[in-house]
């Protein structure tokens, strides 16, 4: 059995103001995984990432990266981690090339090797033409990509991405995920937090949902999605009839003259829905999910957790 990339056991954090951000979090991320850590704002994600990157001191508990304790052997553990934080945290008056080379230097990587790596990652993240401009002149998306390039300078075995695509347009987001998927395929373990749940669904193999400082779900993405028993589809139709047909296992609601919402259990197949609608003279021109599947589950799990707390 291989050593997990990350093993967290009963991690707790109470801040000086009494806020209990983590209430005994235990978690294992296997080597090579693309792992989603999801949760609403204030759930404890950033505190957990802060502890893993040694920016936050844990109150108690243990965290190991590839078997190296973050608390007992911080220096060795930090060699293995690359962090892309939520907030921009580089010197905006420095140049991207210098930011990357300096970061490598902080990990003990000599200037010659650091320069090679800086060029490689700035090129891969399509920032090379801005390498010698002041970082403050970069666009929001470029700044996010620069933080990924910087995090790659020590070629980490575990890359932690804390909402890396917040406020980034779709094209840049896709190119970022292409890059991160590539390094994951090459063997780097990736932990991702994001509010774009479709990203997590597409990219991640395993998932943990954290809320109020507790892990409320920790499973594979596949098994989590299989628990979704009801889905809602938005159907674009030629004309919505005056009276909608009554179909067993399906709830139909008119939205406007050309749109119907169909809520149905996963046991019910779409073919019978289309056949029934067709039989009632309703022509479906296109269809989409009302919400992302993971999003529906996420909302449900978080709500369940809150009801249990209440």
């Amino acid at each position: 059995m291989t050593t997990p990339a990350l093993h967290v056991k009963d991690l707790r954090k109470t801040y000086g103001n009494g806020v209990e951000a983590l209430k005994g979090v235990s978690l294992t991320v296997e080597q090579g995984d693309f792992f989603a850590l999801l949760g609403p704002n204030g759930a404890g994600k950033s505190t957990l990432i802060g502890i893993l990157s040694s920016l936050v001191n844990a109150s108690s508990g243990e965290a190991e990266v590839f078997g190296v304790s973050i608390h007992k052997n911080r220096s060795a553990a930090m060699q293995l981690i690359g962090l892309v934080p939520q907030e921009i945290n580089f010197n905006q008056f420095e140049k991207p090339f210098d930011i990357c080379v300096n970061q490598a230097g902080f990990y003990g990587i000599g200037r010659a090797e650091a320069s090679v790596r800086a060029e490689k990652y700035l090129k891969e993240l399509r920032l090379w033409d801005k390498a010698h401009h002041q970082a403050r002149m970069l666009s929001g998306g470029m700044k996010r990509r620069l933080m990924i390039a910087r995090a790659m300078m020590n070629e980490p075995r575990l890359l932690i991405l804390d909402e890396p695509t917040a406020g980034v347009d779709i094209e840049i987001r896709r190119s970022m995920w292409q890059f991160v998927s590539g390094i994951n395929a090459a063997g780097t373990t990736v932990i991702l937090t994001t509010h774009y749940l479709e990203e997590a669904e597409q990219l991640c193999r395993n998932i943990a949902i954290i809320d109020h400082g507790r892990i409320v779900k920790n499973t594979t993405m596949k098994s989590l999605l299989s628990t979704l028993d009801v889905e809602t589809f938005v159907l674009d139709v030629a004309t919505v009839p005056g009276t909608l047909p009554v179909l067993p296992g399906v709830t139909l609601r008119p939205i406007d003259d050309h749109t119907i919402e169909a809520e149905m259990s996963r046991a019910h197949d779409l073919n019978s829905l289309f056949s029934s609608l067709s039989a009632h003279g309703v022509t479906v021109t296109s269809m989409r999910n009302k919400a992302n599947r993971l999003e529906e589950l996420f909302v449900r799990l978080v709500e369940q957790g809150r009801e249990a707390d209440a």
Partner: protein, 257 residues
Amino acid sequence: MSTSTNLVALGTLVRREVARILRIWTQTLIPPAITMTLYFVIFGKLIGSRIGVMHGFTYMQYIVPGLVMMSIITNSYGNISSSFFGAKFGRFVEEMLVSPMPNWVILLGYVTGAVARGVIVGALVLVIALFFTDLNVAHPLITVLSVILGATVFSLAGFVNAVFAKKFDDIALVPTFVLTPLTYLGGVFYSVDLLGEPWRSISMVNPILYMVNAFRFGVLGVSDVQIGTAFAVMLVFVVGLSALALHLLKRGVGLRS
């Protein structure tokens, strides 16, 4: 981290600090040079010509070491406090905190950068002084050691200030209300032998007095205090402030939650 990787990290940090000093040279190097030129003109030339000999030197010659040391102290302090607090404020201190760099490398890197600025500014002021008077360095080794130790003491003090600071005002308070008065009352412009009691005894608890006099002894060969005592005072401050700064870094005061 091994010794060699620590040295790479230290070199990176020092290089970054020196690059910062040179990048904003109009803020870091020119203002102290202009200020000290004015001191030389007003206190040295205009007023100093009416003041007699002090410890066997003209007043201009007497105040040059004091003014050089004053620039070294204030610039070392100002450099580290603004640079480290700027890194905290801009959050890029996190680049170092998430790295495997040990705390002593972070401290030594910032202190070396601050000492470098103190030395560069001190050298500039010394060159300017040579336009106004002749100087011969009496004890070169003592001169160099007093510069390094004096700059180190105030770099460490500036670092501690930056660790505790929560806003830019906090790094301006100490220089304004503590450093400047202590410097002016630290024998920069006069010999404490001119003071009557209790002011002479009170002056003896001012650490800057020892730094100014150690440097003055190095340059002119005269001092108001025992040179051994001056170095002992500086060493005690270096050790004490280093221990305090490392303790604060280890606890993560103002840096880690």
